[in-house]
Amino acid sequence: MKLFRIRGGVHPDDRKTLSASQPIVTLPMPELLHIPVQQHIGAAAQPAVRRGQIVRKGDLLARNQGAISAPVHAPTSGRIMGIGNFPANHPSGLSVRTITLKPDGEDRWTDKLTPCDDPFALEPAEVAQRVADAGIVGMGGATFPSAVKLNLRDRYRLHTLVINGAECEPYLTCDDRLMQENAAEVIDGIRIMAHALGVSRTLIGIENNKPDAQRLMREAAQAFDGVEVVGLPTRYPMGSEKHLVQTLTGRETPARALTADIGIVVHNVATAYAVHEALRLGYPLVERTVTVSGGAVKNPANLRVLIGTPVSSLLDYCGGTVEEPARMISGGPMMGQPLPSTRVPIVKGSNGVLALTGKETASRPEGACIRCASCVNACPCGLLPLEMAARAKVGDLDGTVKIGLMDCVACGSCSYVCPSNIPLVQYFNYAKGELAARQRSKHKQLETKRLAEQRTARMEEQKRKKREQMEKRKREAAEAKRKKAAAAAQTEANA
């Protein structure tokens, strides 16, 4: 198939051999599971269990709230130890609402599963509903509730489903292994999603550094019309949604639009696997594959892990670290986030746990920009990172936006190549954060003003009512007086 070139991109040392040959192993049950109620983009789920309650695997722990949200289910059977605050898998390490579950070791499924023999006989909306009920979110790390994306057919004219099997982040191999070991299930999930979307064409993009996954997926897809596995050049950020779509179809997503605007929806391979399990077996999303790797890890591995498992359990299983890691990361080294501690749990979006040595992170002090243009050449979005950073540095946020801040996908390619080690993405994230805060405070001001206005209106209203009341009373009093006088006159007259 003809591929289309995208601009920019970088070739990081992929370091995948550390874990690529490790088959997926199921991690033994940890002693406690910490399951945050929010593991997705959107509104947090509302706890549906109490302390002390006995649950079975797959029981609902927290109910989704609103249109963009996802429920959370019990990863195994056991007792709810409490609902409280627990450090989140987020660089801030701030506490989030978390349900703690003590496994009973029996791992018994709930009796509320609704398996389905033929998902293709279901209405598309029904498929999407089941995906929503299973709590499935984008498992490539974005954690957008998947069902919302499967329902896009209502509003857009869709024609193609693109599956992201690029796994372009260095170190990560969990998608690679999943495609090799569960190709049939992944293809099944992909076809179910295509059915839900009502599209006839599916393209599965897999980078060329995963020949085995390509071959096995191709074999598994052979029997089905309209499902095609495509080899992608190995280049970061091939997995960026809009760039993946352009490489495969030649279509460029307009700024500020969704890929759905050009008729295409993108899902990740791990998401497809979860969809297969949800539809065929009725399983909600309670586990995922995670790559544990990095130069400091003794035995890098690909693990199947229950949601809520502490990161430390994964590391212990891998034999711990051989040297003090310079940096612990959740996700890949390009877009991943520092892990605040190894106590934090694995969540639906966790695809990697990396323990990197100082040599691997190769961090140096920040220098001055020498205008070498490396960042310009690396940016897949056609931006001028050096100029954006210069403006962000002096606090010129509007100027930063003017030259494309909002078009930045935060891929980190620019920082990766900068010979002066300028943390460019960091400046952009900072600027985006500032702008969001500004927006919020603007909204807040408007809201305060609105409330104040409402209050004044209410008071006016009250005053008006009071006045009316008084007038009414006055009128009534006058009336009564008049009547009384009339009555008196009457009596007098009678007398």
Binding site: P170, R327, Q337, T361, V376, S415, P423
Partner: protein, 361 residues
């Protein structure tokens, strides 16, 4: 000024840093430099040492005064490189103070006054060269025929000390004009190009470099070798050298075809003077050239055109330094107008329209 968290993704980094870039440029300059030192002997080596040392010391002092980390910044090698490039463009037997004044101008005035590495608008070495040329035209155009080390005419070390640091009477004995200077004079004197160059210019000699000229610009072949290394190591891209040499070559060829008696041919222009050195090592200076490929093409073409114009129609026989500086001044403008197209937007920055879905349902 905004300071972002010291902890910053991505947590992987290309094995590239400023020091490595400068190191590769110096490595690429090495063959032409060594050849130049051989060709012009001990005085050239002394001048080279004076120029580079002054540059490094001046940088160190400036950094110290500005309260910046001295060691760290010196280690990036940019000051050494500036001194080195300047030395390459000086007459090889120039007296020591030419090197000292030049390096001070380059580092203090052209670089540190602007705010140090990355902040300067003009290429420091070229600023210094132009200033020297304008202020001291005589020593700056006193070229000499090559007297390779160990050859009969070559000065020994003691004589070299006298040439570089003392009053130098020996220079007249071997002085000569550079090819460009010779042609300039001859044309002014009414000779035709072929008369002027007859016996004076031989493309093969220029290629190898056995000709009078500045310290490091004589051997076209060795400069090309260095340029190839920079391209191979991706320190520079092809855009500036190719567009600069191509524009120079094309204009010269056209003019030569129009009037061969008055205008030398394209090959002559490309091979002589600092055209090659300029195209690969000076115009490509990262700090002062545009950041986009399209901008670089325009920049290079402008350099080539200006080199030709200055060499042909002004009183200066050589124009690379002027040309590069003039184009340096245009860099901000070029960068402003020739931005890359942002993904999902057209060239004017408006979001693309939907090709096949004009109206959404």
């Amino acid at each position: 000024m905004t300071q972002v968290a010291a902890v910053a993704g991505p947590y992987a980094h290309e094995a590239n840093h400023v020091g490595r870039i400068m190191g590769h440029v110096m490595l690429a300059l090495m063959p032409a430099t060594l050849f130049g030192l051989y060709l012009f002997g001990w005085p050239a080596l002394l001048l080279f040492l004076v120029t580079t040392l002054t540059a490094v010391i001046a940088e160190a002092i400036c950094l110290k005064i500005a309260g910046k980390p001295v060691r760290l910044t010196l280690m990036d090698g940019s000051a050494l490189l500036t001194g080195w490039l300047l030395a390459m463009t000086l007459p090889p037997w120039a007296p020591w103070w030419i090197g000292v004044v030049g390096s001070l101008l380059a580092i203090v005035v052209a670089k540190q006054v602007f705010g140090g590495i990355g902040q300067n608008l003009f290429n420091p070495a070229m600023v210094a060269r132009v200033a020297l040329l304008v202020s001291f035209p005589v020593p700056m155009t006193a070229f000499l025929s090559p007297t390779p080390l160990f050859s009969a005419d070559a000065p020994n070390f003691l004589e070299a000390l006298a040439i570089t640091f003392g009053e130098a009477p020996t220079i007249d004995a071997v002085s000569s004009a550079s090819v460009l200077g010779h042609l300039r004079t001859a044309l002014t004197g009414g000779e035709s190009v072929s008369q002027a160059l007859d016996g004076f210019y031989n493309p093969l000699a220029m290629l190898w470099g056995n000709a009078p000229g500045s310290l490091g610009e004589t051997s076209a072949l060795l400069i090309l070798l260095g340029g190839a290394w920079l391209l191979y190591k991706r320190i520079i891209t092809w855009h500036i050298p190719v567009s600069m040499l191509a524009s120079l070559f094309v204009i010269a060829t056209v003019m030569h075809l129009v009037d061969g008696e008055h205008y030398a041919d394209g090959l002559y222009h490309v091979l002589s003077g600092a055209a090659l050195l300029g195209a690969f090592f000076i115009a490509t200076d990262l700090v002062t050239s545009p950041v986009t490929p399209r901008g670089q093409l325009l920049f290079g073409a402008g350099c080539g055109l200006l080199v030709y114009v200055i060499r042909t129609w002004t009183s200066y026989p050589e124009g690379v330094a002027f040309a590069v500086m003039l184009m340096n001044a245009c860099t901000p403008l070029i960068d402003h107008y020739l931005k890359p197209r942002i993904y999902g937007r057209d060239r004017r920055g408006e979001p693309l329209t939907y090709p096949d879905q004009a109206e959404k349902e």
